[in-house]
């Protein structure tokens, strides 16, 4: 049986990818950003994940304004890094577990989550930056150490799905995973955030206090946290901070009882507060090698 053993919350700031791609992570500006991921990379290696279920958003790269699926599940064989306007990131092709992805798609729809099935899709920094920070530098000729199933969530055109919907989708993803026969260790990523506003005259908004309560409550109070109204994200965490609803998918897929094994928070990376957390299901901690 496949099972989800742990969850990762992680910002996906494009400038973090640029810093890695340009080899400037040792510059004083970037050192505190990347220091916080050193332990994460060791953890990721030890975790020996077979599959990452990666919840992210597209930034008007692959999805233009002509169609806006709220939840789109990647069912293609692989996903190429997209050109976002400055050339594709020089990172490996992202490979899917296609049979598993199809199984999850069917299971979710029968579980009344009417997702969009993507049989062809490129992926932008929203998906590749979390892989880069968790696995370290990988070139185009390398391979990511595990397979990736992407779930793309609309957070660009308001309204994104509610936190409650995302949390419950996480529970449905877990049911889908656990009904798949192959013995697979799955880690789920919720990405985006934390507080940031990229646009107009209030650009640059950062709310470290709000971000901290969000990180704290992922462990202590996840159900109430998932009820946070959109307007609170917009007002308190910036107009682009609302993408944190995607972290609730990750949290919903875990046990009620989790242990926070790592946290990292730093301001800034470009316009954004970098937030990162690793949560393990307490009951699965003895199962790892």
């Amino acid at each position: 049986m496949a099972r989800i053993t742990a969850g990762v919350g992680c910002s996906h700031v494009p400038a973090i990818g640029v810093a890695m791609d340009q080899g400037i992570t040792d510059q004083p500006y970037w050192v505190p950003v990347f220091d916080g991921f050193e332990k994460s990379r060791e953890w990721m290696k030890a975790q020996k994940a077979d599959v990452i279920f990666l919840v992210y958003n597209d930034h008007c790269t692959v999805f233009d304004a002509s169609y806006i699926p709220t939840f789109a599940l990647g069912c293609a064989a692989d996903f190429a890094p997209a050109d976002e306007g400055w050339g594709p990131r020089p990172v490996p092709l992202v490979k899917n577990h296609q049979v598993f992805a199809s199984h999850i798609a069917q299971s979710l729809i029968l579980d009344e989550f009417d997702i969009t099935v993507m049989n062809e899709m490129e992926v932008d920094h929203g998906l590749t930056v979390p892989l880069s920070v968790m696995f370290g530098d990988k070139g185009v000729d390398d391979e990511w150490p595990c397979l990736v199933i992407p779930l793309c969530v609309n957070v660009v055109q308001y309204p994104p799905p509610t936190g409650n919907r995302c949390y419950n989708l996480g529970k449905a993803v877990r049911r889908a995973v656990e009904s798949f026969d192959e013995d697979l260790n799955v880690v789920i990523f919720g990405t985006g955030g934390m507080s940031h506003q990229l646009q107009y005259k209030r650009a640059g908004l950062i709310n470290a206090e709000w971000d901290k309560q969000f990180l704290d409550r992922l462990t202590s109070d996840p159900v109430a946290l998932s009820q946070t109204p959109h307007v609170e994200y917009l007002r308190e965490a910036g107009s682009e901070g609302v993408e944190m609803v995607m972290w609730h998918v990750m949290r919903g897929a875990l046990d009620d009882e989790v242990e926070e094994v790592h946290r990292h928070y730093h301001v800034p990376a470009s316009n954004t507060a970098v937030g990162h957390i690793i949560l393990e299901n307490v009951n699965d901690q003895g199962l790892k090698s």
Binding site: Y29, D64, G85, P159, L198, G204, N207, L234, S239
Partner: protein, 134 residues
Amino acid sequence: MALEKDYEDIPGTFVFDADRSREGYQLNQFCISLRLQVNRDAFNADEDGYLDNYPMTAEQRRAVLDRDWNRLLELGGNIYYTSKLAANDGINFQQLAGLMTGMGNEAYRAMMVAGGRSPDGNRYQHEWDKEGES
């Protein structure tokens, strides 16, 4: 009954809802086309001619040609789209924020390094009105 827009009183912010998306559709479709090199080349060779492919309003077209970044947002543009036009011009997200806030790149970058713009005094429009800003 219309859905309540409980986010309209956030200062200095556009929430890209369905009304804005409808208004900005052609503008945003133009912007996203620039993510491909072949289209960037065509646009850079003949901006006016390329824009004829997208039946946007005269105001939107003017804002594109003028690179009037805030005007683009006021006319239904979304930052993830307009950033494609900025990228074409060699302007990254942080530099774009320096332009939109009127702070300039250096001052904006310094504000971010110092912890960013505080939410205090920046949550509600009336807080800005009091300061004489709009």
